[in-house]
Every structure is written in C-alpha cells, then in structure tokens.
C-alpha cells in the first residue's frame, strides 16, 4: 500500500485522468483505479465521494443524476473545460516531479540508502 501522503496527493490527478476517459460514477471509478493500479490503490467511498463533490464545487466536474434501477439514481461525473485545464496542469506538475526524480535516481545515480 502506498503511503498516505502519496495517496492523498495523487487522488485528484488520478480522478481527473480517469474521468478524462469518459463520464463515470463513483463505484466505477473505484473499480477502475483498482484494476489500473493492480490493486495498489484502493479508494474508500467515504473519501472518494467528498473529493468528487469538492471538484464539482470548484467547477472542475459537472454531475448528472441518471436512473439506475431499484434504489436511488446514480450520480455521473464528467470533466468540464476547467477540469481539463486542471488535468493538463496536474500532468505538467507530476511530469516535472517525475523527471526530477528520474534525474536523481537515474542509471548514473546511486541511492545512498
């Protein structure tokens, strides 16, 4: 299991990235991340949904309620233009960190610990 800070930091960009592939809902997102991460990342509902709401409040996502059979409707989320911009920014930010790490940990670098 990845450490908490990393999980927390990656939460938002991962959600945006997943929703970039298409409209989705909370349960599906949890399944997708587990599949894509080979079980490394497992989000709980109590933490995912608040994040989705926050993204919605900030205008990065838009939500629609659709009928899903017996029980409450299902809430579907999709990226807004603002959300796509935030995703591109996140991509740039993470790439920068990644490249820095690669440079430091690269073939020529020797870990001291």
């Amino acid at each position: 299991m990845l450490p908490k800070p990393l999980l927390a930091a990656s939460f938002e960009p991962l959600v945006l990235a997943l929703l970039a592939r298409g409209e989705s809902y909370g349960y599906e997102l949890i399944q997708q991340i587990e599949k894509v991460s080979d079980g490394q990342i497992s989000w709980s509902a109590n933490r995912l949904y608040p994040l989705l709401h926050d993204l919605e409040n900030r205008g990065l996502l838009r939500a629609t309620w659709l009928d899903a059979g017996p029980g409450p409707d299902r809430k579907y989320y999709r990226l807004t233009a603002k959300g796509e911009k935030a995703l591109s920014q996140a991509r740039r930010d993470w790439r920068e960190v990644h490249q820095l790490l690669v440079r430091l940990w690269g073939p020529a670098a020797t870990p001291t610990t």
Binding site: A45, A68, P72
Partner: protein, 899 residues
C-alpha cells in the same frame, strides 16, 4: 432457512442509512449517492457468487470508516460555504459595515435626544431659510421670463435733458411705436401699452373697479399670453373688443366661458360697451405689469387722443415695447435710436430727447425710471436676501459643527476604548460621518417641511405670490442631496478627524479638557462668529426699521391724509371749467377743499423750469408747478411769509403768470433775504414773468430719500395746464364722497375716466421696497439669534459637563452655587463681548453706507447699537446662566464620582 438468516437488503440498507443520516455532515443527496454505491457494490459481489448478506457486509466495509467520512464530508461542506461566502462578501461587506454604522449611529443619536434635537433644529432652520431665500431670489430674478418672446422683447424708454438735468421716463410718445415698426428693419413688431383703472359692469347695476389695460392690436405677438378661449391674433383687432383674464371672467360672469358676453363701460362713456373676444390665463405675479382686462388702444383712449396719436411726439402716455426679429440685433437698434431724435424731435430748443432700449426681463430689478408701471424691486435687495439666507445656513452649519465636536468629545472615552482594541481610524471617521449623515438628513427633511410651512408667511412678508413647483422638484431631486452631502462632509469631517486623532490613554484618564484646548478654542471662535452675525443683523434691522419709521412718520410739510387726487386726461385740458367742477364737488358735505394743478406730489420728479430770479445772475432749475388759487389749501401747505394764492388780489397779476409762491429752499437758492415782491424773469428774454407774493414752507414732493428742491407755484390764468385735482375730504367721508364725486364728474365730463388715488397711499407706496426689505431682514435676524442661541445652549452644556469634576471639587471646597455660575458664565459673556466688538463697528459702517442713499435720514445713535448688543447679551446670559446653575447644583459627591 432459519428466521434469523432471512436477509432483507432493503432493510439492511435502511438501517445503514439511518445511522449515517444522524450525522449532519451527510446531506440527503450524499446519502443517495452512498446508497447507490452500496447497492452497486453489493450487486457486483452477488454476481461474483457471494450471498446477498455477505456481499452487503463486504460492500459496507468498503465504504470506509464512518468518522473519517464525517470528517471528509464536513471539510468539503465548509470549503463550499467559504467559497460562496467570499464572492458575496465583496458586496455584502460594505453593506454590513454601513448597516452596523447606521445601527450604532441611530442608537447614539437616540441616546442623546436632547442634543440631537438641538442639532437638527438649528440646521433645519438654516436650511429652511436658505431654501426660502433662494426661492424668493429666484422668483425676483425670473420676472417676465415666462414670456416665450422674452429674449427678443425690449422696452423703449426716453431721456429728457433740459437745463443740464436729465430724466429718464418709462412712458413714451405715441408716435414712437408706429415709427419704429415702419423705419427699422430689425423691429419685428412694436406695440403700445398702458394701464388705467376704471369701473366696468357686467350688466347688472353693479360697478366694479377694474385694472384695464390698452394695447395695440398686435399686443399678443409681443406678449404671448396663453389663450383659454379666443384667438390671439384677432382678439384685439375689432374696436370694442376685450380680452379678460380667467379670474376676471369668473368675477364678472361666474364662468370662464364668456366669449361674446357684453360689458358696460360707464367709466368710458365714449365706448359703447365691450364684447369679450378672448380669455387668457391670469397675468403671472412675476410680470412687471398686471391687468384684469385688455382692450384695443383705440377703444380705451378717447377718440381724439387715439386718432391724432400716430404723429404725436410731444406728449407721452404709452409704454412702447418692441419685439426684435433677432435677439442679437438689440445693440444695432440701440445705435440707431438717435436717428429718431434727429428726425422727429429736434424742433424744440433747450430740450433734448433721446431714446434707449431696455430688456423687458431687466425692468423689474434694474429699471428706476419716472412713471414706471408699478413699483419695481431692486437687484440689491435680491442679492441681500440671498446673502442673508446663505448666512443663516452657514450659522446653522457652524452650530452643527460645534455641537458635533462637543458630542464627539463627550463620547471620547468610548472612542478611547475602541481605539485601544485597534479600531481603525477610518472606521471611526466613518462612524461619525454616518451619524452626521443621519442628523443632517433629518434636518434636511425637517427644513424642507419648515420651508413649505413658512411659505405663506414669506409670501406675506414679500408681498407677492411665489411659484413653488419647479423649485421644489429641483431641490428634492438634486439640490437637497447635494446640500446634505456638502454639509455632512464639511461639518462632520472636522469633529471626526479631530476626535480620532486623540491619543487613547489620555482620553481614558479623562484629561480631555486640557488636551483638547485647541478644539475648544475653535468652538469658541465659531460661537463668536455666530453671535457677531446675529448682532450685526440685529443692528441692521433696528437701523432700517428706524429709518423707515422716520420716513413714514416724518412731517412731510403738507397734510397728506384724507386727500384724493384725480387725474384729468390730456385731451380734456381746457375743455372744462374748473370752478364748475369745484362747486359741484363742494356740494357734498364731506368735500372740504378742491384745488387744481399741473402736478401732484409724488408724481413729478423732474425739475421743469429755470427762471432767473431777480438779482440773481443765472437761471436756477426749479420745480415749476401751475395751480389755481385753492390748491395749496387743499394740500395743507403752510404759508410762512406773505400770502397764499387764495388771498391774491387782482393787482398781483403782472407779467405772463402774475403771482408766484416759492418754497423756502427756493428762497435760499435764489439768494434772497426778502422774497416778497421779487420777480422771476423769463430765461429767454429776461422779461419779468410775475412777482412772488408768498413763501410756502418746505414740503416733500416725494420720498425722503430725495432732497427738497426749489419749487415755484405759478398762479394759472387759464385751466389749460391743469392735470390734477386735489380734493381734501372730511375724515371718514370718503365712502360717500367718492361715488358722489364720480357722478358729478361723469355728468360734467362725460367721456373722461374717473381715475383717482389717495395721497397718503401714494407716499406710502414710495417706501414699499424698504419695508419689504426690513420685514425680511428682521425675521432673519430673529432666526439667526435663535440658531446662535441653540449653539450656545449646546456648547454651555458641553462645557459644564466637561468640568463636572472641577465643579464638584470647588463645591466641596466651599464655593457657592452663585460662585460657580458666575465662573462659568463669565467665560461665555466674554465671547459675546468679543462678538459685539467685532460686529458693531462693521454693522455701523454698513448701516451708514445704506443710509447715505437717503437725503433725510436718522442718526445712527449709540442707542441702537447698544440696545442690539444688550439684547443679544441678555439672551446669552440667560442660556449660560441656566446651564451653569444646573451644573453647579449637582451633588458634589456624585460629580466627584463621575468617571
């Protein structure tokens, strides 16, 4: 399956939801989303083969920790609130601040109801005065502007120069108007106009005195009155037509619809009645003339006068108005006017006539010619009223400023506390400005109401009606808000800034009195200013009142009461026998004396003769009046030497005129020590024209503003020069004598209008402008004092409160109430004295300057000045004394504990 194993998904979900729903962090839709998630997860696990119960329990675990959920959901919720709040608070912040200021301001104001009342009333009075005065000034300045033609409308006046003296006259020769129209291109139209008073009847045997105007047929082109009925262009074309004002129509016929109705003209026998051809709006009060009815010139004037008129240059009875094609051509016309004198008026040597142009809108305030249509106002007065109104407003503002400072200082401790906990200076200033705004707005509303309520009084004082609609709209929409803002900013800033600059610790320790000595000085200075203005106004009022009373009650040298003056129209000269008329009048027991003359007092201000007195080298300009034997008696003149005409013997007739009476001033001017028997010589051929048989005591022919000039009465040999009849009546008999005289008159001179006035009225009318001035200045003096007194009340109270502790200590140490009162009062008395010393000399000088315009005036004695100063001092003492005594009476223990 055992009972306990029967699993109901819906019941399980409901149970779960119940638990979560109890936590406030989860909204209904959040729970819906979570439930959906739960069911989806459960379904998917069931599809993988788990039992419903196992699937549900697994899904439940998958939700995560409840508390963690509460945290996360809660965090997002607050983030949302904060975000929403930030956007709205940009707008709401200001409103919230203002609202809180307003609340505090109202609370403060309510707490100090007494002082607030003083603030409000002082400022309200000032505002009301200013409003009323600007209304009046605007009224006076707007005379005649309501005519659409006013930009192109001018009156032609004449200047007559002879013997080195020039006199301007508003009346002009009848030939002027048609000549102007004919000879000058720039003139679109010229009309003649005149007024008389006569009796008309709408058909019943009842006569009414009516102001009748006459005008050329194109009168309404120049003066475009609004026609309620009838056509402006044709209304005066036919003879015997008449245009009535709406209220006259109602007076005569009870209705506005009076076209075609008939009016009898007993006062104008030559006219066979009038037919109404038009109804116009009433002549607005802001016009320099007024009339009830206007008829064609040819109808009102006797036929001989009307017909010969167009070539007549040498008598004057019409007012001539010109309507220019273009407003800009006025100077052009003015340049060309001398041509008229060259062409038509050059045949009399020694007399030079010139014509001048004056804009009709200037007449009311600036024209001071002989024979004006009515008493005009004076531009100086308008400026004065405006100035006084502004002054009272400034006094009110000073009051407000003073008291605001005092009020701010009183709450100094509260400020100190607020400052120590960091309230920003701007907030404090804002606080005080808001309070000022509340008070000033209240004052403004009160002032507006006061002004509206006092309007009838102003109309009474100023003797006119005032049109309020336009000005009120102007003030409410634009003027007042601006005024409020102005007053708030100027008056409120000072105390706000001053106060917020105080250092809090000093304030808390209560050492306000010493650290604010600068403030107190300014306050005292302002009070001195207020009182100086009040004293000045009071002195001015007293002085003017004195002068007016003096002029009205002065011995005029003749007995002006109970004398009626009748006018004989020009075309009747020589066509009647004066003695016949005299005897006819004397038949009435109320008629005591009847005399004939050329001029009556108050009418002629032109020296019109210049004989050479015997033994004197040069001509002397004199008032040359012809009269019959009885005229001097009718006027009640005193004979101080020799005999009057009534005792003249036939042997006194020598030379062209025979006998003369001269007044005392003439005797002095002629350098005679023994006037009886001296001759007056004709200036052209030096032949004696007659001898002086008596001297009359000096008397005033006109206002006491003018000096008495030399006067010569010449005993007329024939009745050709008589224009006026002076009739002395028994006191109380006018009501019966006048109608009797009128009947005799129309019997003897059937076509002559019976036009009369009372001599004392004529003299009184001379002083109307001054009286109006005085009434208004007096009212303002009173108001100024009142406002200043209000200011003093507040200031005295404030000072007393500031020194409560000091007073307490003094009392404990043995000072009596009287001692304390004297101590506090003396400081304020000093202020009033200073104010007096500043204003009294200035007021004296200004009063003397005003009086310089009067030939006969009062002496501005120490009495007036001292009395004014004393009055103000008394008021101040009363106020301060009351406050001081109250402060001194406070229980010393209580005041020592005052912290």
């Amino acid at each position: 399956m055992p009972y306990r194993d029967r699993f109901d998904l819906d019941r399980a979900v409901a149970a779960w939801r119940h638990v979560y729903a109890r936590r406030r962090a989860f909204l209904d839709e959040d729970l819906d989303e979570l439930e959906r998630h739960l069911r989806d997860h459960t379904d998917s696990l069931v599809r993988e083969g788990l039992s419903e119960r196992a699937a549900f329990e697994s899904a439940l675990r998958g939700l995560g920790d409840l508390e963690e959920g509460v945290d996360e959901y809660g965090k997002v919720y607050w983030a949302k609130i904060r975000r929403r709040g930030r956007i709205r608070s940009e707008l709401g912040q200001r409103a919230a601040f203002l609202a809180s200021y307003l609340k505090v301001a109202l609370r403060n104001v309510r707490r100090e109801k007494g002082y607030a009342a003083i603030h409000v009333s002082g400022l309200a009075i000032g505002l009301a005065c200013f409003l009323l005065m600007s209304l009046y000034a605007q009224h006076e300045l707007s005379y005649d502007r309501h005519f659409a033609t006013s930009g192109r409308l001018y009156r032609v006046f004449m200047e007559e120069t002879s013997d080195g003296r020039t006199v301007g006259r508003a009346v002009t020769p009848p030939a002027l108007s048609p000549t102007l129209k004919r000879d000058f291109d720039v003139v679109a139209d010229a009309v003649r106009f005149g007024l008389t008073r006569t009796s008309l009847s709408p058909g019943e045997p009842r006569f009414t005195e009516v102001d009748v105007a006459w005008g050329d047929s194109t009168f309404f082109e120049a003066f475009p009155f609004r026609f309620a009925a009838g056509d402006a262009r044709s209304a005066l074309r036919r003879p015997n037509s008449a245009v009535l004002t709406a209220s006259t129509a109602r007076r005569f016929f009870g209705t506005d619809d009076a076209i075609g109705r008939h009016i009898q003209t007993p006062g104008l026998r030559f006219a066979a009645g009038l037919t109404v051809t038009g109804i116009i709006e009433d002549v607005p009060s802001t016009t320099h003339f007024t009339f009830d009815l206007i008829a064609p010139r040819s109808t009102i004037l006797p036929p001989e006068m009307a017909q010969s008129a167009d070539d007549q240059w040498w008598f004057y009875g019409d007012y001539t108005y010109v309507l220019l094609r273009d407003a800009a051509s006025a100077p052009l016309l003015a340049e060309q006017l001398p041509l008229l004198s060259e062409r038509y008026l050059s045949d009399r040597p020694g007399i030079s006539i010139q014509f001048g142009l004056q804009q009709v809108t200037d007449i009311h305030l600036h024209s001071r010619l002989d024979r004006e249509i009515g008493p005009n106002g004076r531009a100086k007065h308008v400026y004065l009223f405006g100035g006084v109104g502004l002054l009272v407003l400034i006094l009110g503002c000073i009051n407000f400023m003073n008291l605001a400072t005092a009020r701010a200082a009183r709450r100094a401790r509260e400020v100190g506390v607020r400052k120590t906990i960091g309230a920003r200076r701007i907030q404090l200033v804002g606080q005080f400005l808001t309070e000022s705004f509340v008070i000033v707005s209240a004052s403004a509303i009160m002032g507006l109401l006061l002004a509206i309520a006092a309007l009838p009084a102003l109309e009474g004082l100023a003797d006119t009606e005032l049109d309020v609609q336009g000005p009120i709209v102007f003030w409410i929409l634009g003027g007042l808000p601006l005024l409020i803002a102005g007053v708030v900013l100027t008056s409120g800033f000072y105390p706000a800034f001053v106060l917020s600059g105080f250092r809090p610790t000093i304030v808390l320790k209560g050492r306000m009195a010493t650290s604010s000595s600068g403030v107190l000085l300014v306050q005292k200075g302002l009070v001195v200013l207020q009182f100086a203005c009040s004293i000045g106004l009071l002195i001015g009022t007293a002085g003017v009142y004195h002068q007016i009373t003096y002029m009205r009650e002065a011995d005029l040298g003749l007995d002006e009461e109970h004398v009626v003056v009748l006018s004989i129209p020009n075309n009747f000269r020589g066509k009647f026998e004066p003695e016949t008329v005299r005897q006819a009048f004397l038949q009435h027991e109320g008629v005591r004396k009847v005399g004939f003359s050329r001029f009556a007092p108050t009418e002629n201000i032109f020296a019109n003769g210049s004989p050479i007195p015997e033994a004197f080298e040069r001509e002397v300009p004199v008032y040359w009046h012809t009269s019959d034997r009885h005229y001097q008696d009718a006027l009640g003149l005193r004979i101080v030497a020799g005999r009057g005409f009534s005792d003249a013997a036939a042997s006194d007739s020598v030379g062209a005129y025979g006998s003369f009476l001269v007044n005392e001033t003439a005797v002095r001017r002629f350098g005679w020590t023994d006037p009886i028997g001296k001759a007056l010589l004709n200036p052209f051929n030096r032949e004696p024209m007659g001898r002086v048989i008596g001297v009359v005591g000096d008397f005033h022919l006109t206002s006491l503003a003018e000096p008495i000039e030399p006067l010569v009465y010449a005993l007329a040999r024939d009745a050709g020069s008589f224009r006026r009849i002076a009739v002395r009546l028994q006191p109380g008999s006018a009501a019966s004598a006048l109608p009797f005289m009128e009947r005799q008159w129309t019997h003897l001179m059937p076509d002559a209008p019976f036009s009369h006035y009372f001599l004392d009225d004529a003299f009184d009318a001379l002083y109307r402008a001054e009286e109006r001035l005085n009434r208004i200045v007096a009212v303002f003096a009173g108001l100024a004092i009142f406002v200043a007194a209000l200011g003093l009340i507040g200031l005295a109270a404030y000072a007393a409160e500031q020194r409560t502790k000091e007073i307490g200590i003094r009392r404990v140490l043995g000072a009596t109430v009287a001692d304390i009162a004297a101590l506090l009062a003396s400081e304020f008395v000093a202020l009033v004295v200073v104010a007096f010393l500043i204003s009294a000399p200035a007021a004296y000088v200004l009063l003397q300057r005003w009086l310089a315009g009067y030939a006969y005036k009062i002496d501005v004695g120490v009495g007036i000045i001292a009395a004014s100063g004393g009055a103000v001092l008394a008021v101040a003492l009363l106020i301060v004394g009351y406050r001081s005594v109250r402060a001194a009476l406070v229980n010393p223990v209580a005041s020592l504990r005052h912290e």
